[in-house]
Symmetry: C2
DNA sequence: CAAAAAGTGTAATTGGTGTTACATCGGCTT
DNA sequence: AAGCCGATGTAACACCAATTACACTTTTTG
């Protein structure tokens, strides 16, 4: 991460970064600052001058590059979402035994979700789903839906291997992921003093796997 | 400093105590309009004049009754949350067989959650969790946490009856409710063109009950 | 019935913020 | 070295909404 130098205000003369194209540096700095400001304050409360204050550069340049407030917001979301979903490219192709595979994907997913930045991003998108429906929609497709489809394919493979019973694999995948994610995420979303530990996540996943495979009914 | 009179029954002036008084009618109309406007447009985008436009009355009266924008927003949320959670007072005291009990509570919960108004309320609260942490916290306690505790007690009763195995009942309750709620709610939250039908909800609950009790592992 | 309290309609005040204009500066190409 | 073109800093513009002031009417109460 490039260290953010800042300029002394109203000083003509001595300031310039040394590496990379100037425009690109500016753009990256703007996006980084926009991420901070929007995630911290929400869309409406964020103001453009604050972004410039943190990024350096000038308001005019910001507008020249992104058009308007909505423009930089969308650009920032796009970058953020890409960064988020790329890490979800889980390799479930391997014919891993079901218990191991579920645990692995569950932990990876849950650990990602409870990071403060992920929670803030989720808050933003949910809160603005009405104002920016296509953004919310894209998030849904690239995030939860994509992961669900991947897990469904894996489950189908496991069913073929005789490890689980047949069923609607998309629905099954959704159920499992919801058990892994929802409780812990909801609590963290609504009570920011809660910061789940790795152990919390692991215990949660372990229990979810157990229920998903065996249920809780008394054995006879 | 304006003397702020709130709805507390005891007042020095000792007026407007009766229900149906003019002040109470005004107040109810304001809250109703505020609900519409805030749920439709979000907190920041909503404007006070619009509330008055829909409720009738005057801006001055609105301010006299609620102090400021935050005041009427919180008052409206309070009323709304009360209305929402009161319907969740599910009677699970009865020693209903586990499959029936789970289905009943699951359907009631899920059906409530996918109503457009519930979704909008949830959006609002999640989006503003950072700005109004105590509101989000109260929602968490009165909503999800309360229901979870109730279900946990029911599960404990069922365990005592030998229907299910022992375990961390709060955790189990959370898992079940998450399966019932999360998938369907998340999709509706992020894609407003989705409007789950009764049949969707029922199918989802049925599957959740099945997994929760028996799991998906192949029988041997 | 009359005075006081509360409500009403309108408009002014105030503060903020998205957006643009403009004069200037500095690096990069030729 | 000269000059172009984008970047910069600043301030202005335009608009909007929260909040309040005020003069007047209606309701409540003693």
């Amino acid at each position: 991460m490039t260290a953010m130098k800042h300029s002394s205000p109203a000083q003509p003369g001595r300031r310039k970064a040394e590496a990379g194209s100037r425009a690109e540096l500016r753009r990256a700095a703007f996006l980084e600052a926009a991420r901070e400001v929007f995630l911290e304050q929400g869309y409406e409360a964020a103001n453009m001058s604050e972004i410039v204050r943190r990024a350096g550069g000038s308001l005019a340049t910001l507008y020249a590059q992104f058009g308007d407030k909505e423009g930089i917001f969308l650009a920032m979301l796009e970058a953020r979402m890409a960064e988020f979903t790329e890490a979800l490219e889980v390799e479930l192709k391997a014919h891993t035994p079901i218990a191991v595979g579920l645990t692995r994907i569950g932990e990876q997913y849950a650990r990602k979700l409870v990071q403060p930045q992920s929670l803030e991003l989720y808050r933003l998108i949910v809160g603005l789903a009405r104002k920016f429906p296509d953004i919310a929609r894209r998030f849904l497709d690239r995030g939860p839906n994509a992961l669900r489809a991947a897990l469904a394919a894996y489950l189908e493979d496991r069913q073929a291997a005789g490890e689980i019973e047949a069923g609607d694999f998309e629905q099954l995948a959704s159920m499992f992921l919801d058990m892994v994610r929802s409780g812990i995420q909801t609590r963290a979303l609504l009570d920011s003093t809660i910061q789940p530990t790795e152990a919390d996540v692991s215990a949660n996943v372990e229990r979810a796997v157990s229920i998903f495979l065996n249920g809780v009914a008394a054995r006879r």
